[in-house]
């Protein structure tokens, strides 16, 4: 099952080119993003953040229309290219998880635009709703097993046009012309839709748990009747499943990078802060916290390539849900352990430890919370395909 894209202009990079590109990304992150997060208690301005994003576009990480192939999610059907995208996201998240997430959703939107041959306007991507998203019924919808009436009702309610009770949550920094988002209907099953932002009532969330640099917005359709809901482009079920899978893969990569940032900060502090005549890193109480953090990060970094290598879209989606259900709480705990190693000073916003933790908590809830993902996987009872 291969996802068709209409704009593949470049062969996948060889290993040496990939390393070179990642070095460039590393430098770009150091030059452009690190300065934005130097003062964790004071989020960067919109202008500063946009300038950093522009630098990513110039390097080709966020592709323009003519140079697809080098950047994030430019060749989503290719495992090597996906792996490179995951590395880029993780590298960006080591500096700023929220900006990494911004790159992620913009790149996914661009991949959708390219697949649908939509060149008009700029778009973002959202895969999150503010109400229950289907649980076991959702997992079952990916199999050939017919849904019951209540399961159909559950998924249709959760993934129909965004409405008052179930709004679409987007996380960008500015208004985009279009939003890509998944829907499910009895007739069409899973689809990706592109709607004009103006076809929604849009409300900026006044305050949000994490991602301080971004502007969370809630959207509900002006016309909520599913048959009349205003959309201007669609991608079919295979695209939808593939893109939802990429979204979740990216979330895990960003979470791993964010956790690495949290651990790095805590390790540096534990090395210099002394208590009882020794650096606190030498006390079991702290060493244990930091080692638990390393274990979680290592597990995530092991899971990512394993899941990424699965060719079948549905199986890959379920496996990434499975991995995230297990690993997101562990990665949140990395943030928590790291903050704990700081003691009281970690609770203060200017240290940055609490900010990474809030970002990790935010990532934990996006794309399906661990308990929701567990249910979805439980609903996916189809035997695993020989797909690796």
């Amino acid at each position: 099952m291969a996802m068709e894209t209409t704009a593949q202009t470049t062969e996948p990079l060889d290993e040496s080119d990939q390393k070179q590109l990642l070095r460039m990304v590393h430098e770009l992150v150091k030059d452009q993003i690190d300065p934005l997060v130097e003062r964790p208690e004071k989020p960067a301005s919109l202008t500063q953040t946009l300038a950093a994003i522009d630098a990513f576009t110039e390097l080709g990480i966020l592709s323009g229309d003519d140079d697809r192939g080098l950047g994030l999610w430019d060749s989503p059907e290719d495992a090597v290219s996906r792996s490179l995208s995951l590395d880029i996201l993780r590298e960006s998240a080591r500096s700023s998880p929220s900006i990494a997430h911004l790159l992620h959703v913009r790149a996914l939107a661009h991949a959708c635009d390219a697949a649908a041959s939509q060149a008009q306007g700029v778009s973002t991507f959202s895969c999150d709703r503010t109400s229950p998203t289907g649980g076991r019924a959702l997992g079952k919808s990916l199999t050939d097993t017919p849904l019951t009436g209540s399961e159909t009702q559950a998924i249709a309610q959760a993934w129909g046009p965004p409405n008052d009770d179930n709004r679409l949550l987007s996380l960008d920094i500015e208004s985009r012309d279009y939003i890509w988002y998944p829907t499910w209907t009895v007739a069409e099953g899973w689809q990706l839709n592109r709607s004009q932002r103006e076809s929604f009532y849009n409300q900026t969330a006044q305050k949000f748990h994490g991602f301080d640099e971004l502007r969370p917005e809630l959207h509900r359709a002006k016309n909520q009747a599913s048959s009349e809901h205003s959309t201007d482009a669609h991608l079919g079920t295979e695209h939808a499943i593939a893109i939802i899978g990429l979204y979740n893969l990216g979330l895990l990569a960003i979470s791993a990078g964010a956790a690495e940032r949290a651990l790095r900060q805590a390790q540096a502090y534990a090395h210099v802060r002394t208590q009882g005549g020794a650096p606190i890193e030498q006390h079991d109480a702290v060493a244990q916290l930091l080692e638990q953090a390393r274990q979680a990060i290592a597990s995530a970094n092991t899971a990512l390539p394993a899941v990424n290598s699965i060719a079948d879209h549905e199986q890959r989606l379920v496996e990434i849900w499975r991995a995230r259900a297990y690993l997101q709480p562990a990665l949140s705990r990395v943030g928590s352990n790291s903050m704990q190693a700081f003691g009281g000073i970690g609770y203060m916003r200017d240290m940055g430890a609490e900010k990474v933790l809030r970002d990790l908590n935010t990532l934990r809830q996006l794309g399906g919370s661990p308990s929701e993902l567990t249910l979805r996987c439980a609903g996916f009872t189809k035997p695993a395909k020989e797909s690796r």
Partner: protein
């Protein structure tokens, strides 16, 4: 799973003979009289737990919930979302809260009447039990405002524990009366020193650390120089109990000193921008040649370490109570969400996985409350008892809150839904009054005689 219109899906209807509600009906009348009516008792869990308390404690619990919902709840979210305010520019809502809390007796109830405002019928109760009940109810509604009110109690504790009639009469009682008159006089407890937070929370660290606030002997008193950090309520308090080491000595020389805001050379320099509990300031205190007369030494000279430890033994139980309140808040929010959110044509609470989550959350909350109450109702509070309650309850409460957040999904991230604030507020309870790692070791330190042959 069949939807049951007169009960939750998956369970027998109330009228069914197999219903849990009717289990007691099958027993002989005398046994029903002994065991109660089982499921027929339709009061909620909170009320049934309240009924297990003595009448004065039950009344206190109800009054605390009423005050919290009336006075703290309306401003909780707005105060949390405010920009950081500098020392001396407290929001008007908090000024008014302090006046109302003061006149209602919530700032002076560590002692019972006629010394304080506590119910005289509670005079036979350990100080910790009424405090724990109050703190839990306040925390359930707003962590920041709760801490503002509770830090005051922490500041009063060493004055009471000093058992010095002079200190209590001259330094504590006038403040309590001022609060009752509607002129808030808050107390603060200042132990934490820069870059040494945990050092003053356990004996081993303290024995190897260099104190940052130092007292020099002068005729008629002491001169204090140095600083303290992260002092809850230190920006608005008028009376302070601070601990300083004697010049050239270590923490074993720690001595408690009382001083008032406005004392020359003493000031709150700044407050921290915190993750949560934002309605309460964490202040940095500066001491430049601050004179404290001998009469304002709290307890004995060099007796500060004991006073500090005993204060922590008392205060760590209310920290456990805070965690119980936060866990209860998370349960309440999750239950409301599950009742009001429709899923496949019926409220979400009919889903079995939601019921399982809520059962876990409610049970854990009830368990840590029972543990906390058991410890709070003892006169003799050991270090191990207090530390167990503190780290046990706070770690468990965070688990409850995270479970509830997972239930709400992205909805949990919205400030307006309050759950993410509960999470941020509760997270501090794993850190202050000794990190939970320090508290774990405090249990072993206290019990070590059992582990040595």
């Amino acid at each position: 799973m069949k939807h049951n219109p007169s009960g939750l899906t998956g369970f027998p209807e109330y009228s069914h003979q197999l219903s849990a509600r009717n289990v007691a009906q099958g027993l002989p009348a005398p046994m029903r009289a002994v065991l109660g009516n089982g499921g027929l008792d339709q009061r909620d869990l909170w009320e049934r737990e309240t009924q297990t308390l003595s009448r004065p404690l039950a009344n206190l619990r109800r009054r605390a919930r009423d005050f919290a919902e009336r006075e703290l709840a309306p401003h909780a979210l707005a105060l949390d979302a405010l920009e950081h305010w500098p020392v001396g520019e407290q929001p008007r809502e908090l000024e008014q809260l302090l006046v109302k809390a003061g006149t209602a007796g919530w700032l002076s109830d560590l002692l019972t009447k006629p010394l304080g405002s506590g119910n005289p019928l509670l005079a036979s109760q350990p100080l910790t039990m009424p405090a724990a009940l109050k703190v839990e109810e306040f925390a359930r509604v707003c962590g920041g405002q709760m801490l503002l009110l509770s830090a005051n109690m922490l500041g009063q504790a060493p004055l009471v524990l000093s058992a010095s009639p002079s200190i209590i009469k001259r330094r504590l009682l006038p403040g309590l009366r001022s609060c009752l008159r509607g002129e808030p006089y808050l107390f603060a407890f200042a132990i934490t020193e820069p870059h040494a937070g945990s050092d003053v929370e356990d004996g081993h660290g303290a024995s190897l650390s260099k104190p940052r606030l130092v007292a020099n002997r002068v005729p008629g008193g002491w001169i204090l120089n140095g600083s303290k950090v992260f002092i809850s309520g230190g920006d608005v308090a008028r009376g302070f109990v601070v601990f300083a080491a004697l010049e050239g000595e270590g923490y074993e020389s720690w001595t408690g000193f009382f001083l008032e805001s406005g004392t020359p050379g003493f000031r709150a320099v700044r407050t921290e921008l915190k993750m949560g509990m934002r309605a309460s300031g964490a202040a940095e205190l500066e001491f430049i040649d601050v004179f404290v007369p001998d009469a304002d030494v709290v307890g004995k000279v060099r007796g500060g370490w004991s006073l500090n430890r005993q204060t922590l033994n008392l205060s760590r139980i209310p920290v456990g109570a805070m965690a119980v309140g936060f866990a209860q808040a998370a349960c309440d929010i999750a239950i409301n969400y599950a009742k009001s959110t429709m899923f496949a044509g019926k409220p979400l609470i009919h889903e079995q996985h939601v019921q399982l989550t809520l059962a876990d959350a409610i049970t854990t909350t009830s368990t840590i409350r029972a543990h906390m109450w058991a410890a709070a109702s003892r006169w003799q509070v050991r270090q191990s008892t207090a530390a167990m309650v503190k780290f046990g309850a706070t770690d468990a409460a965070m688990g409850v809150i995270e479970q509830c957040m997972d239930l709400l999904g992205p909805n949990a991230l919205m400030h307006e839904n309050r759950l993410e604030k509960v999470w941020r507020d509760c997270r501090l309870t794993q850190i202050f009054e000794g990190t939970n790692q320090i508290n774990r070791l405090a249990v072993i330190e206290d019990l070590q005689h059992q582990f040595l042959d």
